[in-house]
Symmetry: C2
Subunit: 331 residues, 2 copies
C-alpha cells in the first residue's frame, strides 16, 4: 500500500493513534490546529508546524521571495489564530539550492520579517540546509489563557456557523496562476490574496474572549473539508446555505469573465486562512455587531449545526444541492 492510497488524513490518524499512548496529562497532541502543552497555572502553549515545498505548494517563478517569506509565516499564524492563541516565537528551517542568490534570501527574510513585526512574533531559531528545491518549515509557539482556548471539538447542535472573511479569493488566485491569466487588476488582487494571506490573529484572540464563540478552525483546505473536522471532533452535523457565503467583488467579476463557479472555489478551494467558527445562536447578533465594529468587516453567518453527527448538507436558495466536482447541482 502507498501513502497516496491512505490519504493525508488517513495517514495522520494512523500516526496519531500509534503515539497516543505517550501523551501525558495536560497535553493535547495531533488533531487540532495546534498542539496544547502546559505552560503555567493559567496559560497553555499552543504549537503548530507546517512544511511548504517548491512545485508542491508554490512555484518559484510565480511567487516573489518576499511573498513566499510572508506566506510561510502567515499559514502558521493562522493555526495559532484558530485556537485563540497569541503567537510568540517562530522557528524557521529553510532548504535552498547552494547557488541561490543572496538577494532572493534577503527578499524572503524581508517578507518574513514584515509579518513578524506586524504580529509581534520573534524568530528564535531555525536551520539552513542545502537542497535541490526550496523547502520551508515553520514552527510557531504561542500562548493562550487555558480558559479561553477554542478547539474543534467545542461545537454543539443549534449553533450558527460563520466565517470572518470572503472565501474563494485565494483559490481563484491559484487558478489564475495555473492558467496564466494574471495581469488585470481584479486578477492581480486575487493572486495577491493567494500569495499574501492575512492571518486572523487579532480576530482569533478577540473571538476567543466571547463566551458565545464555541468551535474554531482556520480555513486551509476549504470550508467543506475544514468544517468536517469540526463536525467530526464535536459529533455534530451541519447545513450550509451557499448563497450566504461572502464573495469578493473581484472573485465574482473574474469568475464571470472565465465562466468559473465562484461558489465551487469558495467551498472547495482552500488557503483562505480566515476563521470558521460556531457561535451560540442567542449571542450571534451581539457578537457579529461588535465584530464588525471592531474589525470593519462582517462576521457572516453561512449555516448552522444540528444533531446529525458528521453529516454536512449544502443548500442553494433553499434547495439541497451536491457538489460533483464541476459546481453544485440539485439532487
Amino acid at each position: 500500500m502507498k501513502i497516496s492510497d491512505l490519504g493525508e488524513f488517513g495517514f495522520i490518524d494512523r500516526v496519531a493513534s500509534s503515539f497516543q499512548g505517550l501523551l501525558k496529562e495536560g497535553f493535547t497532541g495531533i488533531g487540532d490546529d495546534c498542539a496544547v502543552l502546559p505552560k503555567n497555572e493559567s496559560q497553555v502553549l499552543v504549537v503548530t508546524t507546517d512544511m511548504l515545498a517548491e512545485d508542491v505548494h508554490f512555484y518559484r517563478s510565480k511567487i516573489s521571495a518576499r511573498e513566499l517569506g510572508f506566506k510561510s509565516l502567515a499559514v502558521n499564524l493562522s493555526d495559532i489564530a484558530a485556537m485563540g492563541g497569541k503567537p510568540e516565537s517562530s522557528f524557521l528551517s529553510l532548504g535552498v539550492p547552494a547557488d541561490t542568490d543572496i538577494s532572493w534570501l534577503d527578499g524572503f527574510f524581508d517578507g518574513y520579517r514584515e509579518l513578524s513585526l506586524k504580529e509581534n512574533v520573534m524568530l528564535c531559531g531555525g536551520d539552513t540546509i542545502s537542497s535541490d528545491r526550496i523547502v520551508i518549515n515553520v514552527t510557531i509557539i504561542g500562548s493562550a489563557e487555558k480558559s479561553l482556548l477554542r478547539m474543534r471539538s467545542m461545537a454543539a447542535p443549534g449553533e450558527i456557523i460563520c466565517c470572518t472573511d470572503n472565501l474563494g479569493d485565494s483559490a481563484a488566485g491559484f487558478r489564475i496562476l495555473q492558467q496564466d491569466l494574471a495581469g488585470g487588476e481584479d486578477e492581480n488582487f486575487l493572486v495577491r490574496r493567494h500569495h499574501c494571506p492575512v492571518p486572523g490573529v487579532a480576530e482569533g484572540q478577540w473571538l476567543a474572549r466571547r463566551r458565545g464563540v464555541r468551535a474554531m478552525i482556520d480555513i486551509s483546505d476549504g470550508i467543506s473539508s475544514d468544517l468536517r473536522h469540526i463536525l467530526r471532533a464535536s459529533s455534530v452535523g451541519a447545513s450550509l446555505d451557499l448563497e450566504r457565503i461572502p464573495l469578493s467583488r473581484q472573485l465574482r467579476s473574474v469568475s464571470e469573465r472565465h465562466q468559473w463557479d465562484p461558489l465551487d472555489l469558495a467551498v472547495n478551494g482552500g488557503e483562505d486562512y480566515c476563521l470558521l467558527l460556531t457561535v451560540d445562536s442567542g449571542e450571534f447578533e451581539n457578537i457579529s455587531a461588535a465584530f464588525e465594529e471592531t474589525f470593519r468587516r462582517p462576521l457572516t453567518a453561512i449555516g448552522g449545526t444540528d444533531d446529525m453527527a458528521g453529516d454536512l448538507r449544502l443548500f442553494l436558495n433553499g434547495k439541497q444541492v451536491r457538489c460533483n466536482g464541476s459546481g453544485f447541482h440539485h439532487f
Copy 2:
C-alpha cells in the same frame, strides 16, 4: 553573491542580526543549541529544530527507514541535551514521494517511536506533504531549570575541556558508506554509530546539575568547529591535546586497515552527538569520577581553555600541529 559564498554560519549571523531587534526580554534566540523562552517562575523552555534532506544528510538506499526515524529525533534531542534540558514534546514534518510504501513509513515511525519511548518525549504534532525527495523537519520543546541552563557562553579561561564519548566513529561510518566498505563487524559498528547516534539526554541533565560544569555544546559538526562556537560565545581560547581524544577500538582498527587518520575523523568529522563541555579545573576530578560511576563511561579531559580569545591550538604529544585537510602536521 550566492548563499554558498556566505557559508552556513555567515548566513545565520546575517539573519540573526536582522531579527535581533524583535527579541523581548527573557528570550534568547539564534546562537546556541536551543532557543530559550520563558515558561514559568523557575523554568524555561528550550527549543530546537533541524531539517534533514535525502541525498544531503542521508541516502535512502543506505539507511533503513527505522534508523532514519530514530536519527531524525536523536539529532534534535542532542541539542536539548547540550542545554541541560529535559525534552518533552516533538513536532515532525515529513515530506515523502506520493508513491512511498506504507511499510517504509511504518518503519520510520517505529524508529521515531522507539527513541520517543526511551527518552519519554511525546509526538504532539506535525505535517505531512508530498515531495519528490524525502525531507524531514523535527522541532523539540523541552524544559530546564532556569538556574541550571548551560550555554555556549559560560566558559572562562583555565577550565578543562572534556567530552562524554568516543569521537570519530560516526564520521568513519559515513566514510564507510561513501566508499562502500561495509560488511565487516567493526565497519558495521561504525555505520551503526553513524545511523543511530545516542543523544546524551541523561548526561546533559546530570552535568547541568554540577556547579563545576560551565559551557556545553553537542558535537554535530566536529569538535574543531563546535569548540570554536564556545570560544566565540565565551571569548576564550583553547588548546587541545589530540592524543587524549578518546577513540573506539573499532575506529582504530578500521582506520589502520584503510590507512585513515582516526584523529582527523575525530576532530573534523562530526555527527558524534555526544557532549563537549568545560569544567572548573578544581572540580574536574570529582565530577569525572561521579560521571564514570553513573554512566559507566569516562568523562575525558582533552584540553583546556585560556585567555587567548577565539584562538584554538592543537597539540600532538606536546608539539603544536595544524590540520591541512589530510591529517595533522607539525608547523
